[in-house]
């Protein structure tokens, strides 16, 4: 069965709730699909027994009269940097190989409480650091449509799993574009919620002021449903916002009339933007305007500084967050060291891959005495200006329209030796993280066998309803998930 013909989260949940499908059948179906595509290496771990046990428990509960939740029986894939109780969580790193968390991440806990069933953990760039999934210590993920190409990253396993139709819903994390960029490469929907919309409890920290958990799905309404379930305050994450959570799905309509859309033409015309991406974004602007939206060109001057700001802020935070991997409390410890310092150094040398070391070094440098003000301090001040410019744009616009990534999925190995080229994959996505704004990547218009491209929308903080409305308007006008083999 082609990926597009497989049922989405809403339709599975509706069937399970109505008794037309058991959760066990739903999970068996996903497990068979996953086993059939192990060539993708999308999953690091499949929890067959755990998933089937949870599915049978849900079916028994339903038979006993307990009302199944809004995600009843929906197979869920979880990026391997989100904690799952009793199920190993490695972050794609040797340093956490075999570590089994004693608790679930809040996002996982809320989705499973609503009936979703974790079928496995997905491959990712080590600690979320990468844009191609080539930085996983356990091997790269293949793009579902072309094994020579990358699926994007860092949530590449989650994106490939959804794009190939193995699961209808996956969780990723997005620090600089790590949900949206792989969604774009794989032709699916990827949402980065507003900073603070979803609790980060149990998300292994990379850059705490930027990290956000988000869903990857085949359509906009499944993303809205997943967010409704996950969002909201959490006593275990002080940054999880108390801003009320609407029912994003119930209130959603795809009517673009009256929507004020700012087209970031500078990014569309950027010399690095490939023609297919340019055409897709301009087609989206045309489709929204034809539907009655007020589309105007907008300028986002400081966007050009996004990647340098991001490179300093994210690595500074990472250098601090990753200091905890010392071989004492969890994960790997190097053998044979006779004093604490050499034990810690040897553990980190053996446990971390090259990209993680590179970022820890850059962040340590940016924070070190003598350089702090010139690098980290300047980056923070520039970040404030960039965020303010975005906010000012939202006085005039409901959503901004721009590319997700400058290009289509690139070939494996193509950017591995050039860290700056790799960082520039995120050139259009980092701004929403730096500002804390919600952003979504949706597929470009269906284009036959061509590789997918993504179209990005950004909304004001906690303006997810505007984001979903514009995204659904486009989906209803042909901007729908690619049908990959």
């Amino acid at each position: 069965m082609s990926a597009a013909a497989r049922p989405g989260a809403r339709s599975i949940a509706a069937a399970v709730r109505a008794g037309r499908l058991t959760a066990e059948e739903s999970v068996e179906d996903a497990l068979a699909a996953i086993a059939g595509r192990d060539d993708l290496r999308a999953f690091l771990r499949v929890d067959r027994d755990g998933a089937l046990a949870a599915a049978r428990a849900l079916d028994r509960g339903r038979a006993a009269g307990r009302a199944p939740g809004p995600l009843a029986g929906v197979p869920l894939a979880v990026k391997d940097n989100l904690c799952t109780r009793g199920l190993a969580t490695t972050c794609g790193s040797r340093i956490l190989e075999g570590w089994v968390p004693p608790y679930d991440a809040t996002a996982v806990e809320r989705l499973t409480a609503a009936g979703a069933i974790v079928v496995g953990k997905t491959n990712c760039d080590e600690f979320g650091m990468g844009s191609s999934n080539e930085n996983s210590a356990f091997g790269p993920v293949a793009h579902p449509a072309d094994p020579e190409r990358v699926p994007g990253g860092s949530s590449g396993g989650s994106a490939a799993a959804v794009a190939a139709g193995l699961v209808p819903l996956a969780l990723g994390s997005d620090t600089g574009g790590s949900v949206r960029q792989p969604a774009s490469f794989c032709g699916i929907v990827g949402l980065k919620p507003s900073y603070g919309r979803v609790s980060r409890w149990g998300l292994v920290a990379f850059a705490s002021s930027l990290d956000q958990v988000g869903p990857l799905t085949r359509d906009v309404q499944d993303a809205a449903l997943a967010l409704s379930v996950m969002a909201g305050p959490d006593g275990r994450d002080a940054t999880a916002s108390a801003v009320p959570v609407p029912d994003y799905l119930a209130t959603l309509d795809g009517d673009p009339r009256g929507l004020r859309v700012g087209l970031l033409r500078g990014m569309v015309e950027n010399e690095g933007t490939e023609p297919a991406v340019r055409e897709a974004v301009l087609a989206a602007a045309g489709a929204l305007a034809a539907g009655g939206a007020a589309v105007e060109e907008a300028e986002f001057v400081l966007a050009a500084y996004g990647v340098p700001i991001y490179a300093l802020v994210a690595t500074a935070e990472a250098s601090s967050n990753l200091a905890r991997y010392d071989g004492v409390r969890f994960g790997h410890r190097a053998a044979g060291a006779t004093d604490p310092r050499s034990m810690v150094e040897a553990t980190r040398d053996e446990g971390f891959g090259p990209e993680v070391k590179r970022r820890i070094l850059l962040g340590t440098f940016a924070l070190s005495a003598g350089y702090h003000d010139a690098y980290y301090g300047r980056a923070l001040r520039a970040r404030a200006r960039l965020a303010a410019e975005l906010d000012a744009l939202f006085a005039r616009f409901d959503v901004l329209l721009l590319p997700t990534s400058p290009g289509v999925a690139f070939r494996r190995g193509e950017r591995l030796d050039d860290p700056v080229a790799m960082y520039l994959s995120d050139v259009f996505t980092v701004a929403a993280n730096l500002g804390g704004h919600p952003a979504i990547s949706i597929p470009g218009p269906r284009q036959g066998p061509a590789l997918p491209v993504g179209v990005q929308l950004i909304a004001p903080r906690f303006g997810e309803p505007l984001l979903f409305r514009a995204a659904l308007a486009l989906e209803e006008r042909g901007f729908a998930a690619a049908d990959l083999p």
Binding site: P102, T239, L312, R329, P340, M343, L361, R378, L380, A382
Partner: protein, 97 residues
């Protein structure tokens, strides 16, 4: 590419601060990579940033009430550690015999 923006000695100093034991090969590679990245981020210098520019706006972090609650028990807290004994984490000797 021109002269490295950052010297190998500086990379060794930072690696020590970050508790990373790098081989000489890694020092060479990181010196060249970090130089390329720092050269790229130097474009921030072109940005006019008055000293008083405020830090990014953040939601005021919520604090929960300071009530006692159960946390991980000792066995669970130690379960992921590479080396434990009698309810403790074990590390190499810190103070000489």
């Amino acid at each position: 590419m021109g002269r490295d923006v950052i010297a190998a000695a500086e990379v060794r100093r930072i690696a020590a601060l970050a508790r990373l034991a790098l081989t000489e090969d890694e020092v060479r590679r990181m010196t060249s990579d970090l130089s390329a990245i720092l050269e790229y981020v130097a474009r921030l210098d072109a940005l006019e940033l008055p000293d008083g520019t405020p830090l990014p706006p953040a939601d005021r972090p919520a604090t929960r009430s300071d009530d006692p609650a159960t946390s991980l028990d000792e066995r669970t807290a130690l379960a992921g550690a590479p080396c434990t004994a009698r309810g403790h984490f074990v590390v190499p000797r810190v103070i000489g015999p």
